[in-house]
Symmetry: C2
Subunit: 452 residues, 2 copies
Amino acid sequence: MTSRLDSPLLTDLYQLTMLQSYLDHGLEDTAVFEFFVRKLPAGRNFLLAAGLAQVLDYLEALHFTADEIAWLAGTGRFNPRLLDYLAGLRFEGDVHAMAEGTPCFPDEPLLRITAPLPVAQLVESRVINLLHFQTLIASKAARLRLAAPEALLVDFGLRRAHAGEAGLLAARAGYLAGLDGTATVLAGREFGIPIFGTMAHSFIEAHDDEAQAFEHFARSQPDNVVLLIDTYDTEAGARTVVDIAPRLRAKGIRIKAVRIDSGDLAGHARRVRRILDAGGLTDTGIFASGNLDEYRLREFIDAGAPIDGFGVGTRLGVSSDAPYLDCAYKLQEYAGIPRRKRSEGKATWAGRKQVYRYYDTDGRLARDCLTCADDARDGEALIQPVMQAGRRLARPSLDESRAHALASMQRLPPPLQTLETAATPCRVEVSPALKSVTRKADTRIAADASPP
Amino acid sequence: MTSRLDSPLLTDLYQLTMLQSYLDHGLEDTAVFEFFVRKLPAGRNFLLAAGLAQVLDYLEALHFTADEIAWLAGTGRFNPRLLDYLAGLRFEGDVHAMAEGTPCFPDEPLLRITAPLPVAQLVESRVINLLHFQTLIASKAARLRLAAPEALLVDFGLRRAHAGEAGLLAARAGYLAGLDGTATVLAGREFGIPIFGTMAHSFIEAHDDEAQAFEHFARSQPDNVVLLIDTYDTEAGARTVVDIAPRLRAKGIRIKAVRIDSGDLAGHARRVRRILDAGGLTDTGIFASGNLDEYRLREFIDAGAPIDGFGVGTRLGVSSDAPYLDCAYKLQEYAGIPRRKRSEGKATWAGRKQVYRYYDTDGRLARDCLTCADDARDGEALIQPVMQAGRRLARPSLDESRAHALASMQRLPPPLQTLETAATPCRVEVSPALKSVTRKADTRIAADASPP
């Protein structure tokens, strides 16, 4: 690929055709857009906000190169006014957002962008693209952590992630939501996430003998000996591990764990545990992988299967049971006047919004209140300024965001921490002030339409 | 993001830990890996091979930068032998593959890589990542084209694609499978795909008046007038279009189409068609979008809804009903000897393979034969050399691959062209030669294991 993914051309064509018309007709006043999720996927009780850091990176770096302007000109679709404007375009607006790792609910804005209409419009596609994906994956990964609070959990999803950036960002979103690390090396470099990995079946198959493969690996990676034992026969593999252990021990090499990647994982784990224990390898752990998700993790834990850690790949990396969120980035105000879309089934609350969060006396989340940004209240205001006039205000580390996510998940009411839909969802009140602003926005519109 | 996605660090850590052990123990002989899909997702009757061009781009460019080597060294996990090897590593192997756009079936290799074991191993993660995703999306897009053979079909999936590269490559895979184009501008630049786009609801909302919004847009993009009419009330929007049409016509501007994005699309389309026709706009088309997939397209077409084109977004871009394929890249031969994995439920056919395709007298696909690469037969050999000693042999254009896909889909038996699972799947025979090679591979393995 010769193009850069942070190119502003990674956008929908309609952003550019709209921009041309905005400029032609002087619509350059301040616009306010908000990103929110319309509803939770089946089975989810909350979402975990994620992806803000990448959105801010994108906005900070936003510019068209001379090559990109020349390419746009060559399409014959755009006039010089637009091309000149784009050549000088930078993001100098304001951004307000929920902190990454914050549990959130439908209709609550995760992000608000305040900027001249053409700029706030242009960035829509990539802003949604970045926030949607990481929020999707963090929300899935949170369920893995809730299902297996004590287990080592590692993202194995790169291979079947939807292309490369998804693999990289899923590793980030998973770690943010409480996983322990990832197999994706580049995520270790890019985000400082702990990386995990030892061997694939091909390593065993390339040797004529499984025992020799194990010994070769142990001698090359003496501090990282996790042996994959299911290439031919899992229990035979475990016995081979016991056989070679004394020779390795004599060289000062400890077998940290074995990995099982196929078959009845719980059954194999029990038999392998007995073989290892009988062979004196009581401190050698068992790591499992292969088609795992939060439901299977819970099964293993409920059944007391002796598995110490899990590699979770595809079903995490593509959020397989809910591979997308119904989300939007919508114009909420233009030139000081609240606006909203009223399309059937897609109506939104108008104006700039704030979310106040309230807790019970035991510290658990009790309810949220969705209101206008200028409706000052007590309570924890979740939407905070994060960029002012194009300059970032703070840059929490990924580990800080992860700690926030883990602490916030523990403050959720227990029914929201389960894998099934809670009988009572989190209460999100809409304030009288917000209802009033929305009614006023509607009465301004000339078009013939019925009230919401 | 500061890292490049074509970095060889976009891999699983175990590739590097295995490489170190391969080098330490002299396992640098020639290895043969093949990529294949184990089974079709529910409802799919075939897959469409895609992503080869990006795999070859990756292999051609493969190298570690000095920075990347320094970062690896800094992890403390690797010895100088490995780091030196990686610093000089280039892909100088052979690649055989199915042409992009070829319909294919379980167990048939889409790609074979022949290279020294450490090199063929290292590229696994990214090769799977690229082939899996585009094959997934092309296979989904093919169903859209089969459901609506005559309609204009445009990819709208960028926003909810799984991050940026997925949005870009889904546009490519969709076009390859027969869509007409994409909204993603960068895909236009990168791949020469036709791009489509006009306006979002925010454009209408930023104006105080819908009619004014329509006129502004038409004057700015006179050759591209597709007006979004459902922001407030769809039929009222259609009447507004009729009202402004004479003024635009006087300026030489034709209203190409209206777009409906919400509600009962078929019902709205019928009413809008009557309003447009009654207003003399008989040559103004109707374009629909919003939560579409192949099943909804078929409904509209079966119902005779007057819709001329469709924008298909999320459900295409994430292949929502089947967001991943059960696929693998497996060692099939090392040092001249066929190998295979026998893990439960994951056993594979051993050795280098070829797929011969046979047609009925009417030109329809009759059956495939999966056999050893050296088992020469009559029939169309689908696996062809595409890279030799690291040099690309041919570079079909995307339009050539798209024409191949469309022609090949038409040669599928009609039951395989439907959206439901065909009563009789495509017949894929396994040759006696391949069965024999696989048996021999098994008898070589010393480990205690039962036959397949």
